[in-house]
Amino acid sequence: MTGQVYAIIGAALAVGLAGMGSAIGVGIVGQAAAGVVSEDPDKFGQTLLLQALPGTQGIYGLLIGFIVMSKAGILGGAAPDMGQGLMILGACLPIAIVGLVSGIYQGKAAAAGVGLVAKRSEELGKAITFAVLVETYAVLALLASFLMVNGI
């Protein structure tokens, strides 16, 4: 039974921290985007696209959290013992930590991209690319967390 506590803490960290990262990131881009749209309402679509980019970390976190829940006896599976519970907690850390940090920094990169689009709207592709490079590490962390949780 005690193992389940750690599994839940792990799932909560994955969902909570990665979600925080996305919330901050999306918020940063939203502020920049609103400024640009106040000058040029036609840029709403382009800036919205950039704003959505840092939103994925939260989803990755939820994904790991959900797999843990369905494995650790909350939505299915059997309650893990102490050792397994701690392992699950450890497995959740990559997406929790990287999700938090990369969400914020992707938000900053995307906000700078909003500035780029404000001046040269034809360069949207490059603005997106700059922001997406940050996300690579969240994807890698998601993968690491998934493989670890899956392997336990």
């Binding site: 959505a52 980019l53 994904l63 949207l124 997106i128 993968l143 493989l147």
Partner: protein
Amino acid sequence: MAIVDMKKVFIIGMERDQEDILRYIQRFGRVEIADIHPETDPLGEGTLAADPHTGLERIQQQVESVRAAISFLAPYAEKQGGFLAPKPSKTLEEMRRLAEDPGELGDIVETVEGYTEALADIRTKRLQYTNLLEQVLPWERMDAPFGDIKATAHTQMAVGFISQEKWNEPDRESVPEDLYVEEVGSDQDMICVFTVYLTDSDAEEWLKDMGFSRTAFSGLEKTAAEHIAQYREELKGLSEREESIQNQAKELSENLEGLQGLYDALSVELSKAQSVRRMRRTDTTFLLRGWIPAQLIETFNDGLENTAEDIYTWYEEPAPDEDFPVLIDNPAMVRPFEFVTDLYSTPSAHGIDPNKIMAPFFFIFFGMMLSDGGYGAVLALVGGLALWKLRLKGTMARMAALLALGGISTLIWGALYGGWFGEWNFGGRVGPVWFNPMDDPIKTLIVCFAFGFIHIFVGMGVKAYQNIKAGRVLDALFDQGFWYVFLIGLVMLALPATAAVGKFMAIGGALGLILTQGRKQEGIVKKLLSGVMSLYDTTGFLSDILSYSRLFALGLATGVIASVINQLAAMLGGSWYGVILQVLILVGGHIFNILINLLGAFVHASRLQYIEFFGKFFEGGGKPFSPLSIKTKYVEVTDKKEAHAL
């Protein structure tokens, strides 16, 4: 590859035919008119710049004022037809006549200009009166007219403010005898006071102690109440005037469609007039230089000869290092993918058009990252319907087609993986055609890396092809060939069955790289050193390959979130409101999931092209081909001849 060959076209003609010839070129729509600089271009020697009286400025001004009128009237117009309504159609002749003589539409534009000015005037005046009103409002209860507040021979009369704090202090009771002070109103935390006192008495000292700040109302004569009534009256009048203008604007907005037609007609004339500015002339002739796709020359020439008789035309190849405008021509299936490349950069004129090679990879990667058969069907349907019903053109059509193609790919991958709206296997009834990635994540990762390996190798292959085509066969061998041998060797080394061969290949490849990668350096030591250092690029290659793990990770995100939605919905149910909630969660949840993952799949599939693939060979920075053509925003031109496929 698929960058269209461009030729320079030169036309010398008589000035009297200039208008007809330009109209022909515009209708032909596939000639870009280029500048002629007489300083650098011997051709332009002795010619004159375009006649400044061609009316370019006039048309520009007209277009601008029609545009302003449209954006002024648009909010008043009743929306009709919406998104699906077909555009009104016009012939070229109609457009031309409209541009020459806008008739009553011209008067409407002028009227609207008047409205705009009147509304701006109303806004300024309203601000003015509101400010005045705010100033006078606190003094409403004072019955002395402002005009009467002035000094006499022995007394001073003044109005001003004392802070609430000071006013409420007890020592206010010690008012000097020769001072009269009365509270007449308040403004936030200030008290408005009216005061009369003897000049040179200690009243002034008292007022100073109280922090009295004197205020004056220059130009106001009557009492505050009278002024307030006057300002309110003025403001009411302004509102009435504004309303009447708005009503008139609403009536005028019936002509919006006509104005939009006029806008298009004038824009067509404008782009023609702008082209004239690029040309050169003498007293009776003109000289035009442009770019034309080589395969259209014959059709163009035939039509041109029918347009004017006294005309001299010739064509030239671009100089070897000259950058010509880039027009891309691809088969219909590849065209949607041009959208992805265009987002990045137009290929350089001397580079290669990557679309054909990139398309299959984008197709596969996009589907892999969504990998849900149900979602794929939805996307294919939405994209297909948009393409079919909305009669989209240009970029929008490409996006819709890309959506439809991506949907098909997603459908295929969903079937391979066995995921349908987040349900894996449907209780064993619809099994995966290939395998379920959730059951065997390592195998899925290997599949992703294999795709990455192929993708990157193809990218290097394109670079090798470019090198060979440019006659640098050795470069191709050294820079791509040895890497091929080395990297394939490394992979084979990892597999037990081929390890022995792999060892030799890896060592051979590495030796080749060590010996050749420093060939641009001077001195044997430096050459070898940079050769050895080049092996360090293997890490870059490794990180490129690892980057393809996103193909799995994003597919995972779609699938797992979809099943979360299903499980959430499954928890409800049982009662009638439960079923309603279930439907809401299922529909809303899956739409949200499709949208967010659609964005992810598109962005990451593009990124894999931009960074991992294009990085190997792509040369961007080309200037897109922008021919003189008939471009309309609101109107469909019915007789716009487009006999050419490009």
